[in-house]
Symmetry: C2
């Protein structure tokens, strides 16, 4: 069957491809696998029905006849393993998975923390004073990532599932704002965004937003 | 060769098994694979030499003749794949990996954020007012996890690499403090801590701390 990917019915990013389903849809586009969508409202995300698919009431999920899967990292890895978006040598494969975990658990949290400070605590008197602290923590990670990528096109040899996860994280607003200071990272993101599969997935998100808000 | 795991030369947790090498050493104990240690000072973590092993200057890393690996999730997954700490059916395997990503990127960030608020911002006047906000975000995740684990011994069928990652995250102080309100999660952690491999890894961490602080 065509896999079904759950997405926001009305994405808060207005179709810019910043929601976490972007990594999944980009991976599917890279391997040429069509998919269907299950758009969910914020209220539907928190229902028991959706929590049987995704225990934390989030998007994306990925459903086939034989599998219901959650966590964008795990879904992208599953697609990559099934369709060859991973190196075939064992060491390259393991290191690509390391970069997927890095994107999800070393980079994304400091980026999301910076976003949460504005989105959830923007009205608090402490936020202006906290932002430089958060930005310093984020820059530490970006410094290290830029040092790694210096002289490399992709994280580990050829383009892989690790790059999909990392580029999606770097495209989030709190990181995107700093790309002017990181030409190595900006060039890396631009290389990824020039891929036909990225452009397909991105255009699909925008079309979906325009259709849903029409 | 015996794999080498990098660890803190002087762990800030005083050997309680809260550092991120615990998941790796527990997984190695589960599969009966001996390992050697590479203790690193905080200064050594930030050297170029260590950053060739771990681009973000963290522990743990995992080294064999043919592979240098980083990110505890990726290392535990590699050990699990090599030695059978994953379900053998494809759907169970994929879902176990989903729980590993959940632990690392859905649970751990809200737990670490609560810890960082005290460790790095404890002297700020805003921290007392922020803590209830952070705790509410953390409790949302714990509520969902407890709902999933109700009536289950482990996250997905038998004990697996997903449980190793999740239990290590729940043992962190900011989550451990709340376990009194979550009997389902407390029982889950206790079940895991009763495993001989957990006890071996935990005793090893304590012995290492006592030897290094001797």
């Amino acid at each position: 069957m065509t896999p079904i990917v759950s997405v926001f019915a009305a994405s808060p990013d207005r179709g810019r491809g910043l929601a976490r389903d972007m990594a999944v849809r980009w991976a599917l586009a890279e391997v040429g696998q069509p998919h269907a969508l299950r758009p969910l409202s914020f209220a539907e995300l928190k229902t028991q029905e959706h929590k049987t698919r995704q225990p934390f009431g989030q998007i994306p999920t990925y459903e086939t006849d034989s599998l219901t899967l959650f966590e964008s990292g795990a879904i992208v890895l599953h697609i990559a393993e099934t369709h060859g978006l991973l190196p075939t040598d064992p060491a390259g494969r393991a290191r690509t998975i390391a970069w997927m975990f890095s994107a999800a658990s070393t980079l994304e949290p400091v980026i999301v923390e910076r976003e949460v400070a504005v989105l959830l605590e923007g009205d608090k008197q402490w936020t202006a004073e906290r932002l430089p602290l958060l930005e310093a923590r984020l820059r530490q990670r970006l410094d290290d990532l830029a040092a790694w990528l210096l002289g490399r096109d992709w994280l580990e040899g050829d383009f892989s599932a690790g790059d999909i996860m990392m580029v999606c994280v770097l495209r989030r607003p709190a990181a995107a704002l700093l790309m002017g200071d990181y030409p190595v990272l900006a060039a890396y993101v631009a290389r990824a965004e020039a891929r036909p599969a990225f452009r397909t997935a991105h255009a699909d998100q925008l079309a979906r937003f325009e259709a849903s808000s029409g």
